[in-house]
Symmetry: C2
Subunit: 449 residues, 2 copies
């Protein structure tokens, strides 16, 4: 299996709300089968291809305590086959069609998807419907797949100082909520994951009434509904799940730093992070204002951090900001910077802070606001070209309690953001007293912590 990395997907998901909106919205259909399975059909007739995605409303933040990594481990095991589709037959069926099959796990969702010719959609649905409840997991595949996951962790985390640091920053930023635990899991807990752990998670979370199917492509909604009835329709409803109530963060009044020195680091860098509201839990308009703030600081060559630090002062090789409001619970706002040789990391950090302070003190100009809004609106038009991205946006929004019309209305909500809104969220959320700053340094780097 060729699977996208977590880091890549995290980025993809992070930018999706800003990059994949529809304007004008396509005639999207949305319906629910009797067993509780929710379906969304997004017609896209430009090419004879269809994207089929199954979104389970469960992810790493639902791993039981001490079993970190089980949601992701189960994602791997889902390719081990059923009685009807034994291991390997799913991939080869898709490959023979010239299609693609893949999966990913985030803290909030586990997603399986195929891109295939439209006449193979029924078969894809049959496969996904079958492995929704009928997964066969002989004991011998467990140990082998655990080794695969541990290898994946070694390659993607332990061999990459930036990812090690990102894990430690998350574990420091979130004091109580499970977003503190890496999606792939801590190595010692992955080692202890058993067949029973995986099957218990599967039995609890994999069911039509905990899933959302997105179909985007050259298909007609009524045909899709019929196919869905014939395949998913016969899957028995699973147990009713309690509301997804994860642990909440205590209020934080202490700023924190995390410093990793590693011989494999060539350029030092820093990230400054805050827990901020996600779109789902933000007050009206705050998610949009945080998106605009991040774009004013960081999107494109006219953005403040690029102009001030890379172009004018020339002290940064890179500098930027990001807002990820797509999570089910908390969002994250971050800055990052890589100093140019000859500049200290402290000097760059101070310069980035000064740019934020300037927005908190003086706000932003109407010209900047217009430029950034236009940029968002253009990007939503471009994003319609990417079928997988489009399907992903709907999946992400609908699994975070937003609606089809929210997707369509997002550009209007971005248009409504005022300069004062942007200044207000900067002042409210980017307080130095609650920041967590990560430093990635060479072993010899001068730095206080």
């Amino acid at each position: 299996m060729h699977r996208p990395t977590f880091a890549l997907l995290a980025t993809l998901l992070a930018v999706a709300p800003a990059a994949a909106q529809q304007s004008p919205p396509p005639p999207v259909s949305h319906f629910t089968l009797e067993n509780g399975l929710e379906l969304v059909v997004i017609p896209d007739r430009r090419a004879p291809v269809v994207t089929h995605m199954v979104w389970y409303r469960t992810g790493a933040a639902d791993d039981p305590a001490g079993q970190s990594g089980v949601a992701h481990f189960l994602e791997h095991l889902m390719f081990k086959g059923t009685a009807k589709y034994p291991a390997g037959t799913i991939e080869s069926a898709v490959n023979e069609l010239g299609g693609q099959i893949n999966a990913f796990t985030t803290a909030d969702v586990t997603v399986y998807f195929e891109t295939v010719p439209p006449d193979a959609l029924g078969q894809m649905m049959d496969i996904e419907a079958d492995r929704m409840r009928n997964l066969v997991l002989p004991e011998e595949v467990i140990e082998a797949e655990r080794s695969v996951v541990l290898d994946e962790r070694r390659q993607r985390v332990e061999s990459q100082p930036g990812t090690i640091l990102a894990e430690q920053v998350a574990a420091t930023l979130f004091q109580n909520h499970p977003y503190r635990v890496p999606v792939i899991g801590w190595a010692n807990e992955i080692e202890a994951l058993s067949r029973e752990d995986a099957l218990s998670f599967y039995g609890q979370h994999y069911a039509p009434n905990n899933a959302l199917v997105i179909v985007a492509g050259d298909v007609d909604p009524e045909t899709v509904r019929q196919m869905a009835e014939n395949t998913y329709g016969s899957v028995e409803r699973g147990p009713e799940l309690p509301p997804r109530q994860r642990m909440q963060e205590p209020p934080t009044q202490a700023s924190r730093t995390v410093t990793l020195r590693d011989a494999r680091v060539s350029l030092p860098s820093f990230t400054r992070n805050w827990v901020v509201p996600s779109y789902r839990l933000a007050e009206e308009g705050e998610g949009e204002a945080l998106d605009v703030l991040s774009a004013i600081l960081s999107a494109g060559p006219q953005s403040r951090l690029y102009q001030a630090l890379v172009v004018k002062a020339g002290i940064a090789a890179q500098a930027g900001a990001s807002y990820d409001g797509s999570a089910f619970d908390y969002g994250r706002f971050a800055f990052y910077g890589v100093p140019r040789p000859g500049t200290t990391i402290e000097a760059l950090e101070a310069a980035v802070t000064a740019e934020v302070d300037a927005i908190i003190a003086n706000g932003i100009s109407e010209a900047e606001l217009e430029r950034v809004k236009n940029r968002f609106i253009r990007s939503t038009i471009f994003a319609q070209d990417d079928q997988v991205n489009m399907a992903q946006t709907y999946g992400l929004w609908l699994t975070t309690d937003r609606s089809i019309s929210d997707v369509a209305e997002w550009t209007d909500r971005i248009r409504a953001v005022t300069a004062d809104d942007v200044k207000a969220v900067a002042a409210k959320y980017l307080r130095p007293a609650s920041a967590v700053t990560g430093y990635l340094l060479t072993p010899a780097e001068e730095k206080t912590p």
Copy 2:
């Protein structure tokens, strides 16, 4: 109820292994009733008084995820009475006898104790045996007691910047293990604790086969055994509990800081902390070597930090070190320092680090080692004077898988520590790369983080 604070008790427990050993050992009796209740009797005939302690092998680190504070909440509720001893009668019975009754909760244990005249021991046993399984918790006491605990949290944590910082340092130091969560609980989770949560914890953990009774005082072991049979002996055995397997810490390669600026701070200070082995899990001799290291740095006016920083350089108002090896899982080693006005916190921190580096590089002298060992041995003799402390030492050691003979042999093990052992544990555990440093600052303090 007058209850000792967590912070005080944490300190008490932290120094107990170093301060309360017996030399020569008293003729301690140790036996187990049929229902699994373990008893220890420590004769101490200097005064007509007896200390009776019930140690439940459960504490805040056993709180279910999202129910932080339930072990401590239950400790409060245990004073709400039974059918036989309604609320208030326990305290008034003890008070009439001129005795004392109290309780405390740590991450690992919940302890109830009375100090009374010897002829009241049977009644104390009857009370504790009764509330071990027969607690009556009407719904109306729950809300009231939750408010009491929230008040306690406001007074002991939120109104004390040093305690707020200590909570955030613990939440940063421990990335996965429940020692990261405060014993009293996070406020938002205390607010949600229900009668069912408390009763479920009670039903699971409060039983003779999960408890240890320590009786120290003017009593004879055979009489105590008879009283115990007549009281505790009739309490039904509880469910068999699985091994106490808490989540483990992932390896840490990043140093971290936590900075709290607060207007209520008058003198800035810092603490530098490491996760190190507890006595229970340390390799042979390492717990003792860490105790000796901490004493060489910090115990008394001849200690290195006091001499170097308070007396000679004159840059510290206070400076010290501590090792707490008494926990069930991980231990903690820490330094702290308060600079004298005119000295920066960075300068003091660097000076403390230099003292540690000197031990790692050059070790310690035989004269220092002897002085510290004699100090430990003297303190164990003095500690025999304190009946509660003595009872507490046995309780603590026996609930961390150590034996009666371990208590007696501790001074011999301290005598066996070599200068090389001390140098070795300093080099092995006090690595800058894995430290978590907390800074408590005035709002205006100059400090990078």
